[in-house]
Amino acid sequence: MKSTINKQVEEPDIQPARPPRRRLRRTFILALLTLVVLLLVGLGGYLVLRPRVQPLSLPALPAHINEADLGLTGWQDYQRPLPPIALNSFDWLQPPTIDSQQALLEDAAGQALIGQGQLVHGLSYLRAAAQSSPDNLRYNDDYRLALRDHGQYAEEEAFFSQQAARIKTPNTAISLAMAYVDEMRACPRPPDGLVCQAQNSSRSIDVLNSVLAQHPYNIIARYGRGLNHLYWPSAMGHLPRAQDDLQYAIALLQPLGSISSTFPPLAYAALGDVFAKDGQVDAARNVWLSGKNALPNAALLDSRLNIALDQLVGEENGPLRGLGVYVDTKLAIFWQSGR
């Protein structure tokens, strides 16, 4: 301080005090420069950290894929609301009849009866609906899921095996393939029961192979087979096959567009999970971000994007697609309204 004072005393005329206007200008320039630096740093940070979405590599599809190609013929029927059922009516005490005209009513009655605790009776109605319209995915799905939810895996496999053997359509085969997936719940929980689970998955994949050999754009079979492959231990080499199927599933979302289903976010989530399980975390996030671009309100994709990166790498045995995580085989995701 002393030397500064001395300096002032010694050089009073060399650096005269600047007028307030110049000081103001200097302050302004300083503030401006700081702002510019801040902006540059911010821009740089954004460029480094901003999410970059690369276009997904998807298979090319023929120009005119219709609902039949997708395996969703009659999806409007599947969307019909269940009719109200008065369970105190005498009608529902009777055994069901195998009548396709009654299928929707029987489906509704079956679900209502199970809801009231009459499992055996309710299942008989659901079975009747499925038997009367064996190619109807909705009735098959409702009966199959009821069996699954009540642990009747053997009955599930037996019924849909017989049905697929009797009526050889993609839909009966898909229902059987899903029954095999459901049966994995009967295996011991991992890390036990891995062979049991894998054998059921193999059976499911075999069935879906036959469907896709004839109907390569069946979106349900594609997604079902892709998910089957996704859950295998990675070293068994199923991930490339999962990737292939799920890329198809995303490509097929475009022709699916007319059906406002809940499915699209699931397809993006699953394909991202393939990459995550393979350790390709950036590629996984890219898929989910692509999904977000296409489906801005997809909360499922938000939750995927919020997972810490190190947790994604541990996906092999993790809670998303790890060994022993049960897959929900509810096929109504393909026709239930999501918007």
């Binding site: 300083l30 940070g45 062979v195 049991c196 231990p233 070293a235 068994m236």
Partner: protein, 599 residues
């Protein structure tokens, strides 16, 4: 103080701006670094490297000890050539006992190849061993069949250990100790020559008559593996196979003969038993059986105390589809109930089963605590033992591993594909893909799990366990009587290893050699000893030969850490008699004979 206006020129202004920019860039860089966990990883890596485990410095002294021999594998019928590396993957066994009563622990080591000699390494007491198997009459055991396991036990209570040898496809052999360094084959007269294809045997007194009985764990069904009539000899399921050879329980008749009572007592289990252990699992004073079964559920036979057993597996254990390879017991929390360690198979990306550490719930059930304690992942598991290597009173776990170490190819993919293909008849060896020169979980490093906090960490490499052999039998024994146990490792088709521990700091210890009398077997197998020191209980049992292809030193060593006073020792002998003793000097072995202990 006078207010002096700042005099700033353009250069200074630019300098300030640059400093501000630099500061912001630094903040941004730190932010980015913290987002990427780079900094944290760097720090944790440095912490990892700085950790030292000076209490565990293991060195292989096999060469100096003159035990540098290599195990020879079996070569079976050429009909199973496609999977011969799998078939020939067992047989390296080791069993410890002081067969000549000179106060030093000796060791029998198997070889399995045709005409390959087995070894009896007599402990010279000076850090070296001499192979005396030929003079003893127990070298030439591979003329017909192949040796798989061996276990010492004084079946006639004459004070001299006898030897039972388990072989494939030829009668098992029982050798009576002649008290002069030689043995007499009494297989035929004793009736113990089971012709099964076993991998395990233990001596224990199941019915409390004071005589050691013999339980044999069989693996393959009753076929002659060198002269096969069929190739349908394999397990028929990877998760629940029950087409193995029936296990055998030889009841000691007390006159030099034995009778197989396994079927009568319901313990003729046909799972693919790889190891057998026995301990008082339910604190009833009787020894219960634990069978480590390959390809499915392990089995617990509870000893009813009246010469019968009850299969309590469904109640005691959860469903288990794993590949049981080894069983060992220790009371980890001093509650007087043994906990159980079981080796299984872990192969990342294919089959992550994990080993079991069954916590004894004291209500007849067990809960697997291996994952939470960090002792589950140990490769393709084989012999595994609890051991207090540094005598601090905490048990470590040594777990051997490695299946087939061969060429660079990996058979796991073929194995996994076969196992998961529905409808494939896997019990037919012809349906198995050829293994050729491929490895199967080869070149794995054994694990040494050491207690740290509430769990365990694997410090094998840091401690000096660096070999990559296919480990099989693991024998824990104090060959030099210094109170620090050594690890004697029998490797499949590879040299023996003898790991000696050279800790920097020595803890106190107490060793006990127990001799049963009255209605207890002389080997005192099954005796429970409870030592109290520093107001903490430590409980150990005299072991019957548990552990895959191995038998450890039967003497009990209690690690005391810094404690130099023992408050009490309570001994519950096999016949139920209880004796207590106080004031035993520490840091040495004591021979305690039943009925002469209390003071």
């Amino acid at each position: 103080m006078e207010n002096i206006p700042k005099q700033t020129n353009r250069r200074q202004m630019l300098k300030y701006a640059a400093q501000a920019g630099l500061s912001l860039a630094t903040v941004a860089a730190v932010g980015i670094a913290s987002r990427s966990d780079w900094f944290r990883n760097l720090l944790s890596g440095q912490q990892q490297k700085s950790r030292k485990w000076t209490a565990f410095q293991l060195r292989n002294i096999a060469q100096q000890a003159d035990i540098a021999v290599t195990h020879q594998k079996v070569l079976l019928d050429h009909k199973v050539d496609n999977i011969m590396p799998w078939m020939a993957s067992v047989g390296a066994a080791v069993a410890a006992a002081d067969y000549n009563n000179d106060g030093h622990i000796d060791v029998f080591v198997s070889s399995s190849g045709l005409n390959a000699p087995c070894h009896l390494f007599r402990n010279n007491g000076d850090g070296t061993f001499t192979d005396v198997a030929a003079q003893a009459g127990i070298a030439d055991l591979n003329r017909d069949g192949g040796v798989m396991d061996a276990v010492w036990g004084d079946f006639d209570n004459d004070g001299w250990p006898d030897l039972y040898v388990v072989t494939w496809s030829s009668p098992n052999r029982l050798f009576h100790n002649n008290h002069d360094g030689t043995f007499t084959d009494v297989t035929v007269s004793s009736g113990t020559g089971d012709r099964g294809n076993g991998n395990a045997a233990i001596w224990f007194d199941y019915n409390g008559d004071g005589l050691l009985d013999l339980y044999v764990g069989n693996y393959f069904p009753y076929v002659h593996l060198w002269h096969l009539n069929t190739t349908r000899i394999m397990h028929d399921d990877f998760e629940n196979a029950r087409n193995g050879g029936p296990n055998v329980l030889y009841h000691n008749n007390g006159d030099g003969t034995f009778t197989n009572v396994a079927a009568k007592l319901g313990v003729d289990d046909t799972h693919w038993t790889l190891d057998v252990g026995a301990c008082d699992l339910f604190n009833t004073g009787h020894m219960d059986l634990y069978l480590a079964n390959d390809f499915g559920q392990d089995t617990i036979f509870k000893n009813n105390g009246d010469g019968t057993f009850t299969n309590v597996t469904p109640h005691a254990l959860p469903i288990d589809t794993r590949k049981g390879m080894n069983v060992d017991f220790a009371d980890l929390n001093g509650d007087g109930y043994p906990d159980i360690y079981v080796s299984n198979i872990t192969k990342e990306g294919y089959l992550v089963e994990g080993n079991f550490l069954w916590h004894n719930n004291r209500d007849g059930t067990f809960t697997d605590t291996a994952p939470q304690l960090g002792v589950d992942k140990a490769g393709w598991g084989w012999g595994a033992k609890f051991v207090d290597l540094d005598n601090d009173g905490e048990m470590e776990i040594v777990a051997l591993n490695g299946f087939v170490s061969a060429g660079p190819g990996d058979y796991w993919f073929e194995l996994g594909t076969m196992a998961t293909t529905p409808g494939l008849v896997i019990d037919d060896a012809r349906n198995w893909p050829s293994i050729g020169d491929k490895s199967i979980s080869g070149y794995e490093r054994s694990c040494l799990f050491v207690k740290q906090g509430n769990g365990y960490v694997n410090i094998a490499e840091e401690a000096g366990i660096t070999d990559l052999y296919d480990g099989r039998g693991l024998c824990i024994a104090d060959f030099d009587n210094d109170g620090l146990p050594e690890l004697f490792v029998a490797n499949q088709g590879a040299p023996l290893l003898l790991y000696k521990n050279y800790p920097q700091q020595r803890n106190h210890w107490l060793g006990l050699q127990l001799i049963g009398a009255g209605h207890s077997n002389r080997d005192a197998i099954g005796t429970r000893v409870t030592l109290t020191a520093g107001q903490r209980r430590r409980v150990k049992w005299v072991d019957p030969g548990s552990g895959f292809a191995s038998q450890s030193d039967r003497r009990l060593i209690f690690g005391l850490g810094a404690l130099d006073i023992i408050e009490n020792i309570e001994i519950r002998w096999p016949d139920g008699h209880v004796e207590s003793i106080t004031g035993l000097p520490i840091d040495r072995y004591h021979i305690l004979k039943q009925g002469e202990v209390t003071r």
